[in-house]
Symmetry: C2
C-alpha cells in the first residue's frame, strides 16, 4: 500500500502501468535489458518515471500494436519513433479521412458539444442508421482514438465523444422486434479490463437491425460468467469486442479458454482492432474483420440453422 504525494512531473510505476498498459514486470525487464526506461527514484527508492519517458513509452506501445518488436524500437530516440509512426499510419489514415470526419473532430476539440450532437443527428437522418454506423460512427471512433494518441485531443475530449455517441446509439438498442425467421440469440460482451463500449454498441445495433435477438451485458465480463450466461439465456452466439489496446496474449488465451468451456454448437464471433493482430485463432471461432459483414454472417447462421433442423 504505497500511494503517496504526487511528484508533480514524475509518476510511480503503477501509474505508468495504468497509462501505458505495459505491466510492471515488463517495465522492469525493459529497464534491465535495454536500459530504457531509466526512471529516477523517490525518497523511498521507488521508481518514478518522468513525463518524457512516459510519452516515449506510449509511442512504443502504439508501435508495438502495429507489429513492431520491442528490441527494434526501444533503443531509438523519440523523434525517430515519431517518424516511424507517421510513416506507417498517418498517410494512410488522413488519406481516407473524409472532410466530414475532420469537421466533426474539430467540433470535439472546440468543445461545441450541442453542435456535435446535432451534426451527428442530421447524419443519421441523411444516411440512415446502417450507413451512419458504417460510414460515420465507426471511422470516427477510430479517428478520435488516433487523434488522442497524436496529442490532438485530450483524454477527456475522447471521453466526451464516447458519451455523446453512446447516447445516440443506445436509442436503437433493446427494443422489441418480431421477425418471421428464426432469430439467433446473440450474447454481447467484452473480457475484463476492456474499457471500450462503443464497438460493442455499434455491433449490437447492426445485429438488431438484422432481426437478431441481442442480449448485451456491457463490458468486462469474466469468462466463467459468460459461460453461465450462455446457459441461462440459451444463446446461440457469443459476440466479443476487443479494442486496439487489448493485450494480444490475453485475448487469444481468453478466447481459447472460452471455446473450450462452451459447447461446440455455440458460435463465437470476435471483432475489433484487438483481434486483427492475432495470428492463430482457435478452430470454430469467427473473426469479424468488418462491421459490414454482419448481415451476411447472420444470414449464414440462419441457413445453417435451418439445415440442421
Amino acid at each position: 500500500m504505497k500511494p503517496r504525494e504526487e511528484i508533480g512531473i514524475a509518476i510511480p510505476i503503477s501509474a505508468v502501468e495504468r497509462e501505458t498498459a505495459i505491466s510492471k514486470d515488463t517495465l522492469r525487464m525493459w529497464e534491465r535489458r535495454y536500459g530504457f526506461p531509466g526512471p529516477t527514484r523517490d525518497q523511498f527508492g521507488d521508481r518514478i518515471y518522468p513525463h518524457a519517458q512516459v510519452e516515449k513509452l506510449r509511442l512504443i506501445r502504439r508501435l508495438m500494436d502495429k507489429g513492431y518488436r520491442p528490441g527494434k524500437i526501444i533503443p531509438q530516440p523519440y523523434h525517430a519513433l515519431l517518424e516511424l509512426l507517421s510513416g506507417s499510419q498517418l498517410l494512410h489514415d488522413n488519406f481516407n479521412q473524409s472532410d466530414l470526419i475532420t469537421d466533426l473532430l474539430r467540433l470535439i476539440s472546440e468543445h461545441r458539444v450541442s453542435e456535435l450532437r446535432s451534426a451527428l443527428q442530421s447524419q443519421v437522418q441523411n444516411l440512415g442508421l446502417r450507413r451512419f454506423i458504417l460510414e460515420v460512427a465507426a471511422p470516427m471512433t477510430r479517428a478520435v482514438g488516433d487523434a488522442w494518441f497524436r496529442g490532438e485531443l485530450a483524454i477527456f475530449e475522447e471521453h466526451l465523444f464516447t458519451e455523446v455517441m453512446q447516447s445516440m446509439l443506445r436509442k436503437w438498442t433493446g427494443e422489441a422486434r418480431s421477425t418471421e425467421q428464426r432469430a439467433p440469440r446473440i450474447l454481447l460482451t467484452t473480457f475484463p479490463n476492456e474499457q471500450h463500449a462503443l464497438g460493442l454498441l455499434m455491433v449490437e445495433v447492426l445485429m438488431a437491425m438484422e432481426g437478431a435477438e441481442c442480449i448485451s451485458f456491457g463490458i468486462q465480463m469474466p469468462i466463467a460468467d459468460i459461460v453461465s450466461a450462455v446457459a441461462a439465456h440459451q444463446a446461440d452466439i457469443v459476440a466479443l469486442s476487443f479494442s486496439q489496446a487489448y493485450p494480444r496474449t490475453r485475448s487469444s488465451e481468453g478466447i481459447m479458454e472460452l471455446r473450450r468451456a462452451l459447447q461446440p454448437h455455440i458460435e463465437i464471433w470476435v471483432g475489433g482492432g484487438g483481434v486483427a493482430r492475432i495470428k492463430r485463432l482457435p478452430e470454430k471461432v469467427m473473426e469479424m474483420n468488418d462491421l459490414a459483414n454482419i448481415p451476411a454472417e447472420i444470414a449464414r447462421w440462419r441457413q445453417k440453422s435451418d439445415f440442421s433442423r
Copy 2:
C-alpha cells in the same frame, strides 16, 4: 510469455487475477501470510488454482468490498463466509422493499429480459420519468446490488440489469433544451476506478429535466482532466457520483484535491452510497444525500446566481 495447456479444472494465476480482480502480487502474499489460497503446481512449477479456491476468492472479494478485512475472513471456511454474506444486510432491506421491486427482481433472476424491459417501460408511462427514477430506478439499483452481494443474483445478471436500465435512461439524455432561465452548466463524471454508471445517469436525467445543461463525461475521469474540462466548458458545477464500493479514503482525498484545484466559485456536488460514510467533507462541497433534492438545489443555485449578477 507462458501460455500453456489448461489443466481442465484448475486455472493459472493470470486467469485468477482476471476473474477475481485480485492482483498476482496480492495472491502470492496471501498464500504466504494466511496459507490461502493453496494452489497446486503444474509441470513447470507454476501455480494453478482449483475451481473451489477461485470461488472462495470471489466470496472474499465481495466481502472486502463491504468493508471486511482480509485477515478476518480469509482463514474462515467457505460456509462461514456465505453466512456472513447473507446475514449482513438482509433484514433492513427486505423490510422496506416494495412488491414492485420484488417482482422486477424475479424477472431478472428468471432471465425474462424482454418482459423486464416492457415492465419498466410501462412504469415510466404510469409514473412519469421523474417519479420512475426516484421510486423505481434508484431503489432497484440498490436492490440489485444487494441481491448480488447476498448471492441471489449472479454478477452477469446485475450486468444485464445495468444495461437494460442504461438503455432506458439514455433515451432522455443529451437532447437539446432551451430555457428562459440561466441554466447552470453541470459537468458530470466519476473518479478513476469507479465502475458504476447508473447513478450518474439518473442524476443527469433529473438535472436535465430541471433545465440544467448537462455535460456527462462518463465514468473514470482523472482529477487533472476534470479541472481542464471545467475550464474548457466553463462549467458552473461539478457533480460526482460514488458507489458503495468506492474506498472512503480515495473519495475524500480526491474531493479535497479537486476542491483545491478548482476556483472557489465552481460548486462541487457529490452523491451516492460512497459519500454517505465520509465524516468530514471539505468546506464548499455539497453533499446530495437524496436524488429528490436535485430540483431544490438547482433552484438555490439559480437564486444565488441571479443575486450575484
